[in-house]
């Protein structure tokens, strides 16, 4: 009898979550498809979704495709720019987060809870507020310039907010680094201290211990953290909008946002969205499959 109860209890408990996903993910996704493959009201230029897949039209996808790979491929620079920004920001997040997570997992001792609380403290303030704070700090006469010029002694003028790609990447790193920290911490925390001691007993140096024991065992955390921050970064438009406002730092997210706000171009926004979705689906599938395999192995 207990087996029969547990057979039904979990699906029942899981049902609200499944309904939630269906309502707020699958249905909106279908609406995106219907808008993308639908038409446009000739007067108001607002989208007229085609609910019936048999009526779907593919002009907007063709337009986006042409702007990506056609002779006038002006969508390509923001796409490449986005990839570059995301790769740099993910690597930087990793470099920043790994030592912090390792320290917290292994050496924080009784202060671990406090440190963890401090690590997630940025979540308590909205992303927009944090970006607005950075705008103040990065002003020409702001605190950052005051510090790097040693209070104005060094004659150095840096305009951080003038469409500077460095500022946008720094904004991405700042905004997303906590999301990298937590999965890394979880993975590093799971490494048994006896494995590290065994490595030491077998004569591994500090670097070898890291390379041959800690790093391989932290791979699931690294992958999870990378996906967790790379996926939203790919669609991020807010950071560039706030810290740059310049076309020279436009990302895919900015293109999608512009298309949504432009009458008659919702279909193009949808096509771009689907493109990003397809690009992001590959690592997600890979991650899910590798997780399933490792679960089966364990």
């Amino acid at each position: 009898m207990p087996d029969r109860t547990s057979r039904f209890i979990w699906p029942v408990l899981g049902l609200p979550g499944m309904v939630w996903i269906a309502l707020f993910f699958l249905v909106p996704l279908y609406v995106v498809f219907c808008v993308t493959f639908g038409t446009v009201d000739p007067i108001f230029r607002s989208p007229v979704p085609a609910w019936n897949p048999m009526e779907w039209q593919f002009e907007q996808v063709a337009v986006v495709w042409d702007r990506l790979v056609g002779p006038n491929n002006f969508y390509l620079p923001p796409v490449l720019r986005t990839l570059l920004y995301v790769v740099v920001a993910v690597v930087a997040c990793m470099i920043i987060a790994f030592p912090v997570a390792y320290f917290t997992a292994r050496y924080a001792g009784r202060h671990r809870a406090l440190i963890l609380a401090l690590l997630v403290a940025p979540f308590w303030i909205s992303y927009m507020m944090r970006m607005l704070a950075w705008i103040n700090l990065l002003q020409p006469d702001g605190l950052v310039n005051f510090i790097i010029t040693l209070g104005g002694i060094i004659p150095l003028e840096v305009n951080w907010l003038s469409g500077n790609p460095f500022t946008v990447v720094m904004g991405l790193i700042y905004g997303y680094v906590p999301y990298m920290l937590l999965p890394l911490f979880a993975a590093l925390d799971r490494i048994s201290p006896s494995l590290i001691e065994a490595g030491r007993d077998l004569g591994a140096s500090g670097f070898e211990l890291f390379r041959r024991v800690i790093l391989p065992m932290s791979v699931p955390g690294v992958v999870a953290g990378t996906l967790l921050i790379a996926l939203p970064m790919m669609g991020d438009y807010f950071t560039s909008d706030m810290l740059s406002k310049s076309p020279s730092t436009s990302m895919i997210g900015n293109l999608i946002n512009l298309s949504i706000a432009t009458p008659g171009q919702s279909g193009q926004a949808g096509a771009l969205l689907i493109l990003v979705l397809l690009v992001l689906l590959a690592p997600m599938i890979w991650y899910t499959r590798s997780n399933m395999k490792s679960e089966v192995r364990s």
Partner: protein, 432 residues
Amino acid sequence: MADRPRPPISRRRLLQASALAVPSAWVLSSCARAQPLGSPAPAASAGGGSASAAASLPPLTEIPIASPQNPVKWPINPGNEPIASGLEPEMNATLRVYNYPDYVYKRVLKDFQEEYADYNVKVELSTFNDLPEALTKIRSGSVPFDVGFLTYNYMGKLVYGDLIRPLNHDYLPNINDVWEEFQNPFYDQGWQYTVPYTIYTTGIGWRHDLIPEDISARPNPFDVFWDAKYAGAIAVLDDDREVIAMTILRNGGTDVNSGDPSVLGQTRDSMLEMLAVSKPRVTITGYTDIPEGTMSLSQCWSGDMITGQYYLPEGVDVSLLRYWSPPTGQAVIGNDFLCVLKGGENPVMAHHFLNYMLKNDVSMKNFGFVGYQPPLRSLTPESMVTDGYIPANLAAAIVKPEWFQVGYPLLELPVAVEAEYQAIWQQFKSGA
């Protein structure tokens, strides 16, 4: 029962799951409004009056585009006649006003409530970021907005979408206080639907201490946006029409609504050149960024610089602000208007609100906050300076009535031309 890993989903299961999408599509389809292509959706009509105009609309090609050379008297659709004269304002009304952010003085709205306290009216202000967003929300009918602060290059859509209510002039005697040009504007002959709100030119604003050069002394001041000397310190408006128009003017053109492919091609090339040379930011926050010194120079509307005086940091003198637009008035020029929306529930109170906003003292009070000039007869360029509304160094931001004869308004565009403009703008904003 212990948890165990599930096998991956089979192709058959995936197909079965996909089959569920078909009924979902049917449900969505039946939820959608019946909206035949080629005709606009009928607007919600909470305030009475049937939404029958959609049926009587002419084909799309017949909808006129208003311009100074082609003034338009819009039709009044059956079922959308003006309200009768002599009606009492609605009691306990919530007057829903729809506007850009920071584009009306809230004190003025409170004063209106006080003036109509006998009717227990409450003014509720909602804001939109741009007109496409506003139009979408007005069309949806989800909120019964009574009054809209809108722009004339959307007149065709407003009238033919049956979204706007014709005015009864008996309720609007204060129209006599505004310039004659706006008692019979080209975009609404006979002011059947609109009353003017503010007027403006588009030009260049800067802070003199950050840009010591006298931009206005250049043979072509618009060249400043193509000057590598100011790379990273300047901005253009986040508005496709304004930037394209400025580029056309800079290249020696005068038709800022041009659909000529060669003009548009040249304009696109110039805009991309600007991007490469001066790396401008794209923003509409020049009215705070320039006074605060975050930005040195920006394309902006005249009202932005007048408002800018209130955003100066402590210790920065107002005399440092500058504005330039062609002094002959041959600039991009425009105005916004007030109208009564058809979906509103309080058309009589809405008429009273329009009349109130036209009132000389109310209009002046509002001007003192928003910085955008109302087209009032009582205002002269001299009085605006002597009365302290505009500092002398920003006198170029004052719009003169005769400029509406020579200026270049941004007009509604044919759909194909509009698509060309959008493509140019997308290329520019993608930083290609």
